[in-house]
């Protein structure tokens, strides 16, 4: 490794600051967020956070540049040691982790500038920025964390901040239930992950990813142990990545403000996958470690792609595609194709950001999320339209933008089995259909009352929109520049037939979408021949009802049973004893006769009984 300049050395030693900037920003926002400072309005809080994010981006960016092509460095911080048990946090400085951190801070910057415009008139602006700072801190930390314990802590921080951000408009009932469900479904995953972590720490003695990888080489675990461990460790990322069966929250989380939805759909979901990738060596201990991600990922990829098409809420239509793409990532991780997974995460994150910057303006200026009330916005909001088109192109493999390269990489990988290619093609085609559908409903067609007077967004939102358009267009160049496609040996092959299939799948999907939703080939609203199937998809496989009938019911029933026992059995018994003594006393009152012989007799009998009992028990003790 080449010698580092003093500045770089200092920045390296203080890399832990990078996640702290967001946290510091969040703390400094508190006086405004809690309403202690009212005079200045909430804007200063927003500026402080923006400044902190810029600092984090500069700090991380410098290190990213310096560490490019260098070997990874690890910084260890001892946190707590009890007896021979040591807990430490390890930070990894490598091109990958620093690049991921840079992506987080970059997206956070885009989202925060965007929020300035989106929440301009919202009185909770300062609170929102505080939470965004918190959010950003957790994710930047995750990017550079090399310890499962630290990653777990940060995942929990994410769970908490998701709860607070989704519940941002806490006076709306849907936002409140959305926040609750987001917290609890993620928490289910987190608790299972915690169980896995406790077990793993007992077995391996360390929770650092590098130590774990080493331990996994020689670990001797029974099959059932390794299997359970794999299930527990996968559960956490499953919740974070909104994979079946813990995916409900992402849909409901769309009740929150759009800048946060942007973060959530692009990088928060990626954080879970990032942890899963880091855990890959441990998961390899059990066949379940690859079978479960593949199974869950496949189900989610296909299911969520279909569900997305049945949504009429603009944000939900996009958020289900997030689940679908993360499903692909899960499959890739299950197949041990980490590079493909990372590539998908990167291209998806950037394309999704562009899509969400676009629809945020639409939601703000039409005051609705219902696509059936929209239409004809292409001429009113040209920049947003442009962003949607470019974002869509980055999402599907039609033109050689982002996702094309990731999927191409997938197809050209000899280790990828045939069925996985089918799933990729399917997801690609369905997503193309869905995005053209959304485009037709929102931007195409004729205007409706809600869209007639919708203006283009103001500059604080236009700047992030344009930047993310540019970013999306630059993705192929970045991939080329940083040689992200060449992590495998040799140049990227273009398997001709697969490439044609890939482009064809997107083209077919897009053609169907355009012909139905832009040219009206079928009468709208489209009804499927099976109404039950249509309902099944539009209600997301009734997953909320499944929850209610299973886990929610079980917990509720247990709670009611406990309350009953508490009230009637335990407390009832206690009160019964109390009442009995009272009545006993009342009853005895009438036995007072006034004759002293009687009293003496009672005293004598009692005392001698006690003496005998005491003597007997003491005798037991001593002899």
């Amino acid at each position: 490794m080449t010698a580092l300049t003093p500045v770089t050395q200092w920045l390296t030693q203080t890399v832990w600051l990078a996640p702290c900037y967001g946290l510091i920003g969040a703390l400094m926002t508190l006086p405004w967020a809690t309403g202690t400072i009212r005079r200045t309005g909430p804007r200063p809080a927003a500026y402080i956070n923006l400044l902190m994010t810029v600092l984090a981006a500069v700090h991380g960016g410098w290190l990213f540049r310096e560490f490019w092509g260098q070997e990874a460095q690890y910084l260890t911080f001892h946190w707590l040691s009890v007896a021979d048990f040591d807990l430490s946090f390890v930070l990894e400085l490598s091109p990958l982790s620093l690049g991921a951190m840079e992506l987080v801070t970059g997206m956070s910057l885009i989202a925060q500038v965007y929020a300035l415009g989106y929440l301009e008139k919202d009185w909770g602006l300062a609170r929102f920025f505080a939470m965004m700072g918190f959010f950003e801190a957790a994710m930047s930390g995750l990017a550079i964390s090399d310890s499962l314990l630290l990653s777990y802590c940060l995942l929990e921080m994410l769970t908490l901040s998701t709860y607070l951000i989704v519940g941002f408009w806490y006076a709306q009932p849907l936002a409140v239930t959305g926040a609750r469900d987001a917290f609890l479904t993620k928490r289910v995953g987190d608790i299972l992950l915690l169980m896995g972590m406790v077990a793993l720490s007992t077995f391996s003695g360390s929770l650092n990813f590098s130590d774990l990888a080493e331990w996994a080489q020689t670990a001797q675990l029974a099959d059932w142990q390794a299997g359970l461990l794999a299930i527990a460790l996968i559960a956490g990322p499953t919740g974070k990545c909104a994979q079946f069966p813990l995916h409900l929250w992402l849909d409901e989380a769309m009740e929150g403000p759009n800048p946060a939805s942007l973060m959530r759909n692009s990088i928060v979901v990626a954080c879970g996958a990032f942890v899963l990738i880091k855990l890959a060596p441990v998961l390899a201990l059990s066949p379940l470690g690859s079978a479960i991600p593949i199974a869950l990922g496949s189900m989610t990829a296909i299911g969520a792609s279909l569900v997305a098409i049945a949504q009429i809420d603009i944000k939900r239509a996009l958020s289900h595609t997030t689940s679908a793409y993360l499903g692909l990532v899960f499959i890739a991780v299950g197949l041990q194709q980490t590079d493909v997974a990372l590539l998908l995460l990167l291209t998806h994150a950037i394309a999704k950001t562009t899509l969400f910057t676009s629809i945020g303006g639409v939601i703000l200026n039409t005051s609705t999320q219902d696509m059936t009330q929209m239409g004809g916005l292409w001429s009113k909001m040209p920049a947003s339209t442009m962003a949607f088109v470019v974002g869509s192109m980055g999402m599907v493999a039609l033109l050689p933008l982002g996702a094309f390269w990731a999927m191409e990489r997938w197809l050209s990988e000899p280790a990828m089995p045939g069925w996985s290619i089918t799933i990729v093609l399917l997801v690609n085609g369905l997503t193309a259909l869905n995005l053209t559908r959304v485009f037709g409903l929102v931007f195409g067609g004729s205007t409706q009352p809600k869209t007639r007077r919708a203006p283009e967004v103001t500059w604080p939102m236009a700047v992030p929109i344009v930047s993310s358009i540019v970013l999306t267009l630059l993705v192929p160049l970045m991939l080329e520049q940083w040689q992200l496609l060449l992590t495998r040996v040799g140049a990227l092959q273009f398997p001709v037939s697969e490439t044609i299939a890939l482009i064809a799948s997107a083209a077919i999907g897009a053609t169907i979408g355009i012909s139905i939703y832009s040219f009206g080939a079928v009468a709208r609203p489209v009804t499927l021949p099976l109404p039950a199937l249509q309902d099944l998809l539009s209600y997301d496989f009734y997953i909320d009802r499944i929850y209610r009938l299973t886990i929610v019911w079980v917990v509720g029933a247990a709670a009611r049973a406990t309350a009953w026992v508490d009230r009637y059995v335990i407390d009832g018994l206690v009160n019964l004893v109390g009442v009995a003594t009272l009545f006993g006393g009342e009853g005895l009152k009438y036995s007072t006769s006034g004759r002293s012989q009687g009293y003496v007799l009672v005293v004598l009998i009692s005392v001698s009984t006690m003496v005998v009992l005491a003597g007997w028990s003491l005798a037991q003790l001593w002899f």
């Binding site: 809690t34 707590l80 040691s81 009890v82 806490y170 406790v198 009611r560 508490d566 003790l621």
Partner: protein
């Protein structure tokens, strides 16, 4: 000398406040109590300065015989097990005094009782003689009974009597166990040190000195006795009633330190004096912990689902969280015992915070019923700062990292897992359930729209907020820097674990 000061300063203060010849109004009595507390802070500071955490010996010992014929000696000392709890007591007593209603009725009696209670708690944590411990343990009962019975809610009479009967029973059982132990060992002494040496000798040569059946009998008495105090299911029913009826500062003390007397006693006198019997019944205790944790959690959930009393919900959460400590003590590994100590402090801080906040809501809104509350987050007319602190408190209690609750629970689970994997996993469900009931509480009371009924609340002054903020600082601090707490107790918890070998 220092330790005696801790015990006797509040007694002197209580007498002064109670017997002062002139007119003493509420403000004056409060000032006197605060002055007394400052004295305690100074003494506690001196103890922190003199305490050496690197030894497992009892430190700052003061001992002279009191009643020779009984074997009773006045002997105080402090070690890594009691040290954090003594400091916690100083902190929480201050919080309780500061959060007392300034215009409280019968102020002289109130503050005297509170100081007597303080003295009793210090004494119990510091006593190095079993009989002396019992005296302080009983002494603390009486003021608490009056504090609930006089300044409590509507059903205070019922709650106070229930509390008194339960805890008096607890005291009797413990006394019986102490008498049995001292009698059967033949020592005419109740000195903890000598009995502990005896216990260690006993553990190295099983069944030689005391038959195991006798040990088990005595340990059972101790378990039930302290089990009432902790409280463990099904001995817990006094707790929700006492909390619901007690006023806010009393609830803070009750949850914050008085319950810790139970777990402290369990570790010191159960685990410490009966290592051999302990290892035999440890699996049962772990199962008992699971029952307690899940029962407390489900009871709290049902209280939340029924839109009941916030305070009762928090009280049931205490039952669940104290159950974790039993699990840790049952496993008795160095890591789990460290976790138990951590959980005692963390739970003291967190439940203290939660009761304070519930108290503020009650004071401002006039009700604690979840069904009547809504939208308190409202920045203009609601309680936004209290709401933010409440989020912090419930998240700390749910074991969100970055706060003291997480590391305590993590150490407990990690330490207990090798000994009792299944029990540990079941207890971890309790952590998940904590989030369920606290989210119900938050969503119901702070989220949503502010209803007409609770609109136009009186504003919360910084004086109201200060105690809550003072409690949230150590919660975050120990969550981020757990070694600052572990430092004080590690050598003692490790030594305790080593003397008790539990075969998994």
């Amino acid at each position: 000398m220092l330790l005696s000061l801790l015990v006797w300063i509040p007694v002197v203060g209580a007498l002064a406040i109670a017997l002062w010849p002139g007119e003493v109004n509420a403000t004056r009595a409060r000032q006197a109590a605060i002055l007394n507390w400052i004295g305690l802070v100074v003494v506690t500071g001196a103890i922190i300065g003199q305490f050496d955490p690197n030894t497992q010996q009892i430190e700052l010992v003061e001992s002279f015989s009191w009643i020779d014929r009984l074997g009773l000696s006045y002997s105080l000392g402090i070690d890594g097990l009691s040290f954090p709890l003594v400091v916690l007591n100083t902190l929480l007593v201050g919080i309780a005094i500061f959060s007392t209603n300034e215009a409280i009725s019968r102020p002289r009696f109130y503050y005297s009782l509170m100081l007597l209670l303080t003295s009793g708690v210090y004494g119990a944590f510091l006593a190095q003689d079993l009989l002396l411990f019992f005296l302080f343990y009983e002494l603390e009962l009486i003021p608490l009974y009056f504090l609930i019975a006089i300044w409590g809610g509507v059903r205070r009479g019922y709650a106070a009597t229930k509390f008194l009967i339960y805890t008096a029973l607890s005291g009797i059982l413990i006394l019986a166990a102490f008498l049995g132990l001292a009698g059967s060992t033949g020592f005419a002494s109740f000195s903890y040190d000598r009995l502990r040496d005896f216990a260690i000798a006993q553990a190295s040569a099983p069944d030689s000195l005391l038959p195991i059946a006798t040990q088990l009998l005595l340990l059972a008495l101790i378990l039930v006795g302290f089990g009432i105090k902790i409280p463990l299911v099904p001995l817990h029913t006094w707790l929700p009633d006492a909390h619901v009826e007690a006023s806010t500062p009393i609830s803070v003390l009750l949850a914050g330190v008085l319950l810790k007397l139970g777990t402290y006693g369990l570790i010191r006198f159960g685990l410490g004096l009966f290592p051999e019997a302990w290892s035999q019944i440890a699996p049962l205790l772990a199962a008992w912990a699971v029952v307690s944790v899940l029962y407390g959690s489900f009871a709290a959930i049902s209280e939340g689902l029924a839109n009941g009393d916030m305070k009762r919900l928090v009280a049931y959460s205490s039952v669940g969280h104290m159950g974790f400590i039993l699990l840790a003590v049952a496993a008795a590994t160095p890591v789990s015992l460290m976790g138990a100590e951590f959980q005692m402090v963390a739970h003291g801080l967190i439940s203290g915070l939660l009761f304070l906040l519930v108290g503020i809501v009650y004071k401002k809104v006039g009700t604690r019923q979840l069904s009547a509350l809504s939208g308190l987050f409202n920045p203009q007319r609601g309680l936004p700062v209290i709401g933010s602190l409440m989020v912090l408190g419930v998240m700390a209690s749910s074991g969100i990292p970055g706060m003291a609750g997480f590391i305590a629970e993590f150490l407990i689970f990690r330490g207990s897992f090798p000994a009792y994997p299944v029990h540990t996993l079941l207890c971890m469900l309790g952590t998940g359930l904590t989030a369920v009931y606290f989210l119900i509480l938050l969503n119901q009371s702070f989220f949503g729209r502010l209803t007409e009924r609770v609109a136009n609340l009186p504003s919360v002054s910084w004086l109201d907020r200060a105690p809550a903020i003072a409690l949230s600082i150590p919660i975050a601090l120990f969550g981020l820097q757990p070694s600052w707490l572990a430092y004080w107790s590690e050598s003692v918890t490790t030594a305790l674990a080593v003397s008790t070998r539990i075969s998994p």
